[in-house]
């Protein structure tokens, strides 16, 4: 402010001198005009405000975008967890009165191995089931064998046995009602249930 007021004082002094010296000359009573320097100062002020406004808007926009990105990534994470859960829940099936893992189920189990490795806090329970054809009581033992086969496969591929529980349901919980091979083959199965650490899962 100081240089501006100095300039203003000098300007005023010059006007007084001119008036004193050029008495014949009609005094041109100049309308007070904004001094160029003061205009510049005002413009600077305005620009400053504009810049601040823009920065604020930019910050808000950045915040908004950040929030949006965060929401998007949460949704993505949720989608991933759901996808992983679905992969983990894929059942495996067995031949009649057998508990060995079928070769075409190895891929399904390998996927579970990868999921368990990628999610070290994940704990699961394997449920062994049978069809209605065998003996009611024997099927409890057979269902146990099937659950154990599933577990052994995972353990032999590097998963800690302590992360896997097993249960047998015998023929007591059929997935499909029906008395033909189509129903039976679907009922001879292992189901995989998450019992811990399944809130946020990452893809293997």
């Amino acid at each position: 402010m100081k240089p501006v007021s100095l300039l203003f004082v000098i300007g005023l002094g010059a006007a007084v001198f001119a008036g004193a010296c050029g008495g014949k000359k009609p005094v041109e009573q100049l309308a007070p005009q904004p001094n160029a320097d003061s205009a510049a100062a005002a413009q600077a002020e305005a620009e400053r405000l504009a810049r601040e406004e823009e920065a604020r808007r930019a910050r808000e926009e950045a915040d908004r975008q950040a929030r949006a990105r965060e929401a998007d990534s949460l949704a993505a994470l949720g989608r991933t967890t759901e996808a992983v859960r679905t992969m983990l829940a894929a059942m495996i099936h067995f031949d009649y009165d057998k508990a060995n893992i079928r070769s075409n189920d190895a891929g399904t189990l390998d996927e579970k191995v990868a999921i368990l490795q990628a999610n070290p806090n994940l704990r699961i329970r394997i449920h062994g089931h049978c069809d209605e054809r065998g003996s009611d009581e024997y099927n409890l033992a057979l269902g146990n064998r099937r659950a154990q086969s599933g577990k052994q496969y995972l353990v032999s591929h590097g998963i800690d046995a302590g992360r896997i529980e097993t249960q047998s349901w015998g023929e007591e919980r059929p997935l499909v009602d029906g008395h033909d091979e189509s129903a039976w083959s679907q009922n001879r199965r292992d189901e995989f249930e998450i019992i811990g650490g399944g809130d946020a899962l990452v893809r293997p």
Binding site: G134, E137, Y138, L140, N144, K151
Partner: protein, 466 residues
Amino acid sequence: MAEWRKVVRSAAVAVALLSAIPPFRLTAQDTSAIDRGVRIGIIYRPGVRPGFVLLPRRGGGLDSVRAIIARDLDYSDRFEVITLPGGDSIRLATPGAPLRPARGATVPAAGGGTQGTALNYPLYQALGADFALDVTAAGDTTVVTLHDVAVGGVRRTIRARLPAPGQADFRQAVHRVADQALQAALGTAGIAATRILFVKDGKVYQIDQDGAELKLVSSSDRQAMSPTWAGDGRRFAYMEFQAGRGQLFLQEMATGKRTPVATTGKALDFTPAFSPDGETLAFSRATEEGTDIYTINLKDNCCLRRLTVGRFSDNLSPTFSPDGQRVAFVSTRPGLPQLYVMAADGTNQELFAPFDYGVTGSSNAPEWSPDGQSVAFHRDVAGTLQVFVLDARSRTVRQLTSVGRNEDPTWAPDSRHLAFVSDRSGYRQLWIIDLDTGRIRPLLQQSGARLPAWSPRLPEVTSSTP
């Protein structure tokens, strides 16, 4: 069928009354083709089964007693039950004739309301009857008189104060009278006063052997399996199934009070079986190593013992021999479930029923007969299950059933009847077969019944609180 029998019997009676033919025995009726009219499908096979007749009487409030006893004696499959036509229309009794006690038979006590009536023994003999049973009332006492027709006198008089019909104990009390009559006639114990436990919709029920008095005995909503009787008939054990685990319980028949079996329930424990003295409970336990047989001391609720070490095989479904010395069980050692046997301490484990690799189907659910001679089980035959019996001594097997799917046999205390599950009628229900005659009857007309367990002969206090 009953109608035909009636007609046949009527004809027989008519023939007997009209002509003095020599005595003959009326034995098994024919089931072969009956064209029209009265096909006398009678096969005269003397000496097959003693003929038995229940004397027709009216009133006295004992109709239901007579009906129950007649059915019990029929279901014993030890008599040829002769059904007389229309009671009073043919006078069979000769009033006023002096009573002739059979030699060596119990002389009935005086004072019985109808004791003065002797029977027209020759006529009954002509009808093929060896025994005649008369049910009468003397005050509040029911008097059951067993006549020995061949000897021509009274064999025994049974007096019983029966509860009123409809009371909880009524039918069992009548069943016990029927058993006494059978004992008096043949010298062997009957199976009338017995019950069968079974599972339906995850609950344990009991039913009398004659199909009456169906009753829920489960006391929890959890799924139950594998009920089995203690040898004294006062309690049973079963498995309660929950979330893939199994806990064993004991339950008192009289009070319904149940007690969990110690150390069970953390794993999948199933197929309990009492030792004959009731002090030991054997069962199967499924773990990571597979399924193996364990025992626990019930008296002290302690002392878990492992009898089998399967490693790569499953061992399950133990059943004690009646002398308590041996345990038959199922093992998958041959690659599929087959019958094995071991000493009760787990030693000397060996194959029990002969097994031909690639021929013999999976064999399961063994139950040792009360007389110790046989083990009933079921076996996969051409993709379905059939009931078999193993002779414990000769180790030969014979197939009992061939119609439909038949499984989970359980012995009656007479070791000649088996209850089992069959779908021969279109749905799975309980049936009873008599091994001596091959007669098969449905026990329960309800779908979904399974895992039956036939009681021993029941003590008198089954339904009263101790």
